[in-house]
């Protein structure tokens, strides 16, 4: 079971994603934006960061990177793809998931341990969660406000494509408190918070019982391993 992580110029969390994949029990494979080669991986992660300086719009230039033609092709054939933060913005710009992102309504960068509601546990990346479960993973973004027109919001709500919702507070003004969405098929998931930062004791978010003990992010990766090996 091999999971690829694509590094773009300006990616920041690619190494954390590779590490999370290893901790979850799969083989991480480092991929490069400028090539046309997915190296036979079984699943893909588009990591967080500020690809190409986020010039033009967050994720916009990266969504046209050379490797993205292979990513779009693989995603349309059903390969599991997870876009985290900047990766979510890339997926939206590439139209692999609905919607778009603008600047946080509060204007500034927000970093916090964020409570999320798991709305759909049948996607390739969420089978290890229970529907309605509340999880905590870190959030850190400037352009995190998820937006779509009213018809699109109704459609993705009705289709169960809203995968995660912010709980307790909405950190960036996203429509319907939406934190993550999937494509119709459920193999492509994008979310603004960072599961790869909540996979290892001592480095995750605080929980009710222990500091930095949150490991909720690990189940994104164990979910996809289960899905691919099934």
């Amino acid at each position: 079971m091999r999971i690829g992580v694509i590094t773009f110029p300006g990616s920041l969390d690619d190494r954390d994603a590779l590490r999370a994949i290893r901790i979850a029990g799969a083989e991480p494979v480092s991929l490069w934006h400028g090539e046309h080669d997915l190296q036979g991986v079984d699943a893909l992660v588009l990591p967080g960061g500020f690809s190409y300086g986020d010039y033009l719009r967050a994720g916009a230039i990266a969504s046209h990177a050379p490797i993205m033609s292979e990513v779009i092709d693989a995603a349309n054939k059903g390969m599991p793809v997870l876009g985290i933060c900047n990766g979510f913005q890339m997926l939206a710009e590439a139209r692999l998931v609905p919607g778009a992102h603008t600047r946080n309504d509060v204007q500034h960068f927000v970093r916090r341990d964020q409570h999320l509601l798991v709305e759909n546990n049948s996607t390739a990346w969420t089978t290890q969660f229970s529907a309605g479960e509340e999880i905590i993973i870190p959030l850190k973004n400037a352009d995190g406000r998820f937006i779509a027109d009213a018809d699109t919001i109704t459609r993705i709500e009705d289709n169960g494509q809203v995968t995660f919702r912010y709980v307790g507070m909405n950190p960036n003004g996203s429509a319907d408190d939406i934190a993550g969405v999937s494509n119709e098929r459920g193999n492509v998931v994008g979310l603004m918070p960072h599961p790869e930062h909540a996979v290892e004791p001592g480095f995750g978010p605080d929980t009710a019982t222990h500091m930095r003990s949150g490991l909720d992010g690990l189940r994104f990766f164990t979910s996809v391993i289960e899905r691919v090996l099934a």
């Binding site: 046209h64 919607g99 778009a100 779509a148």
Partner: protein, 83 residues
């Protein structure tokens, strides 16, 4: 060399926090008669070679597909300004 100016604005119904912050600053500086500001983008695109209908059509497509994101933005004008 021929230059095209492409102007892109956030859709009217989309909150523009940057414009809102500028409007707030103007108000604090005593310019309260300027009650609203919306911020967009201006692209100056230089063209090598002659301008044909195909050039214009391709630029319109680029403006719609790459320079703007139609979910959140509109291309409000494309103007030729020969430099």
């Amino acid at each position: 060399m021929p230059v095209f100016v492409v102007e892109v604005m956030p859709k009217p119904e989309i909150l523009d926090p940057q414009g809102k912050a500028v409007a707030g600053a103007l108000s604090r500086l005593g310019h309260s008669e300027f009650s609203a500001v919306r911020m967009g983008k201006r692209f100056e695109v230089t063209v090598d070679g002659p301008i044909t209908d195909a050039t214009r059509a391709r630029l319109e497509e680029i403006a719609r597909e790459i320079l703007s994101n139609q979910v959140i933005e509109d291309v409000v004008s494309i103007t030729e300004v020969t430099a």
